[in-house]
């Protein structure tokens, strides 16, 4: 039931997705290799769902192409369009969309039956998949009697039952509560690792991406802004969104030797020497707050106003406004010692050694259109 294998070095999924709708334009290259799990991350409205629907065949491309293995699924310039039902792409929807009138078994057997298997064989296959997700004894249960986690597993089994070369997951854990999410994430990781085809996972939760994906692709406003493995992205975020995602303060400025000019009134002393257009990042834990302008070693100090204070794990996260916006993590003890309150004026300080500087254009070639 799988497509023809692409040649060595060529990705299984070769997609250049261009979709124009109203005032929104998606333009993204998404190559995915067999066995690779790619997470598509981005804020709401970035185009993640559009990309997923285009790959699934639920939305036609305006331009570009989708090739899965040796088969072209969508190519407007050559008038090629394969509708969803002939694409052999598995989809796990955000609300699972299990057919309410069919049992779990019949749901999972639906795909094989649609592909022409007879009832007996498709049911056997379904039983096998339900066993793999640990729900063999729930075969006769109707979806409305399944818990969220169980429904998610049935949805996954249903999508995988036809051995699709491409698997798409739309926010697969979003509907679950925190506890269930952790367990389900671990299990999902196992199944995705076993899946021989390409996988695209759409999510807004960075933890999902970090645990489940081999590679992250960050998309904002229809454009890919950063991609790479988790480590690279965490270390060197390139947009505000990514920075917030990985929990860093990020600034862009002009570097000269060990200083970076971030704004007209704001210059940072940094640990790494650099020249030109750079990003500077430091974690909230590197920001110290003082009631008065501190003297001594820290050379990056500036006056700031407290915009909000929230709990953040065991610490407090303080959002600061001023010459630049920044987030600072403070221990509750330090906070009470400083008597921190919203609207209060404080001095923020960051040690140069805690900053990381990296060029905006990092010399690697941009992914070329194929």
């Amino acid at each position: 039931m799988t497509g023809t294998r692409p040649g060595p070095g060529e990705p299984l999924l070769d997609a250049h997705l261009v979709v124009e709708r109203d005032r929104f334009r998606l333009d993204a290259h998404l190559p995915i290799a067999a066995g690779e799990v790619v997470a598509l991350l981005g804020p709401n409205g970035a185009g993640k769902t559009t990309a997923l629907r285009a790959l699934a065949g639920l939305l036609p491309l305006t331009a570009g192409h989708v090739r899965l293995g040796a088969v072209t699924l969508d190519d407007p310039s050559h008038r090629v369009w394969v509708p969803a039902e002939r694409r052999h792409v598995g989809v796990v929807f955000q609300d699972y969309l299990l057919f309410p009138h069919l049992s779990a078994l019949d749901n999972v057997a639906f795909g094989p039956r649609s592909y022409g298997m007879n009832r007996l064989e498709s049911r056997e296959r379904a039983v096998g998949w339900l066993r793999r997700v640990g729900l063999a004894d729930h075969a006769r249960v109707k979806p409305r009697h399944l818990s969220g986690g169980q429904a998610q597993r049935v949805a996954l089994a249903r999508a995988l039952a036809v051995d699709p070369p491409l698997l798409l997951l739309d926010e697969p854990l979003a509907a679950l509560d925190a506890g269930t999410r952790m367990d389900t994430r671990a299990e999902l990781h196992r199944h995705l690792a076993e899946h021989p085809g390409a996988t695209l996972l759409v999510t807004h939760d960075p933890l999902d991406a970090l645990v489940l994906a081999d590679r992250l692709v960050i998309i904002e406003d229809g454009q890919i802004v950063q991609e790479g493995d988790a480590a690279t992205i965490t270390a060197q975020p390139r947009t505000d969104y990514v920075a917030r995602l990985v929990g860093l303060n990020l600034y862009r400025g002009q570097a000269h030797d060990h200083t970076v000019r971030v704004g007209p009134d704001f210059t940072l002393a940094v640990a790494d020497a650099a020249e030109g257009d750079v990003f500077v990042a430091f974690p909230p834990t590197a920001v110290a707050l003082h009631a008065r302008e501190p003297d001594g070693s820290p050379r990056n100090t500036w006056p700031a106003t407290i915009a909000s204070i929230q709990r953040h794990g065991d610490n407090l996260r303080v959002q600061l406004t001023g010459a630049v916006t920044a987030a600072a993590d403070i221990t509750p003890a330090a906070a009470s010692h400083l008597r921190l309150a919203t609207g209060q004026q404080v001095w923020a300080a960051v040690k140069a050694v805690e900053t990381r500087t990296y060029p905006v254009h990092h010399g690697e070639p941009e992914p070329e259109p194929r």
Binding site: A56, G57, L58, P83, A84, E85, R86, R87, H88, V89, G90, V91, F93, D95, L97, F99, P100, H101, F110, G111, S114, Y115, R144, H145, R158, A159, V162
Partner: protein
Amino acid sequence: MSTVDDRGAGARRPAPAAAPRPRRGTSRVPVGLLVPAAVGLAALVLPLLGLVVRAPWSTLPSRLAAPGVLTALRLSLETATLATLLSVVLGVPLAWLLARVEFPGRRVVRALVTVPLVLPPVVGGVALLLVFGRKGLLGAWLDSAFGITLPFTTPGVVVAEAFVAMPFLIIAVEGALRGADTRFEEAAATLGAGRWTTFRRVTIPLVAPGIAAGAVLCWARALGEFGATITFAGNYPGITQTMPLAVYQTLEGGDLDGAIVLSLLLLVVSVTILASLRDRWITSP
């Protein structure tokens, strides 16, 4: 997640340990709703009670055994059921078209579909004659090409009943389809189901309660149809004389008691059948 349907005749009594019923005067049902509801119920039920009270109970058994009575009843039930089947076969696809496909003139088509509802049934019968009669637009061709005539035949009764009753089914099913979640159909497509398979295995089962409810309405309307039947199909015992026609003829012949007996029979049979339909078959899950 409760699946107990606690509406209608299938209501289960609360456990004995439940809170006591509220006393009169402290009822939580607003009087403003209760009074009109009671009046409405009375308006519908009292005429039926009148039939029961005025029935000639002493001669009932012999009247029921009279020839033609059971024939008319059987004919009524058969034709109403066939008319409903015809309406489902033709009406569900039409409802699907109206609900799911955007085509030019859709609003006009929808309005046309409801015309039999506002047309006086006798006029409907005349219209059917003009089309399917021996000299009708299509009837003449059907007669000469296939030897098929509809007037004065039992199939003609089915056609007349379907004409007046199909709109009920179409409206009910269109409503159900509009309210259905189309994302399930997308999910089916991603699982490899073609359009017909999706329609058959996903769309229809999801609106099956709506179809059932529409079919019930359709059947009831077909059973009671008179004007179109007598005008188009004529009136002959055993072939086209359904219960409503038999009642009319008996009444006009001056036999009021006989007419009451026939009416009671029709009433009892249809109420029995309708009441035995379980709620959960005609309401969505």
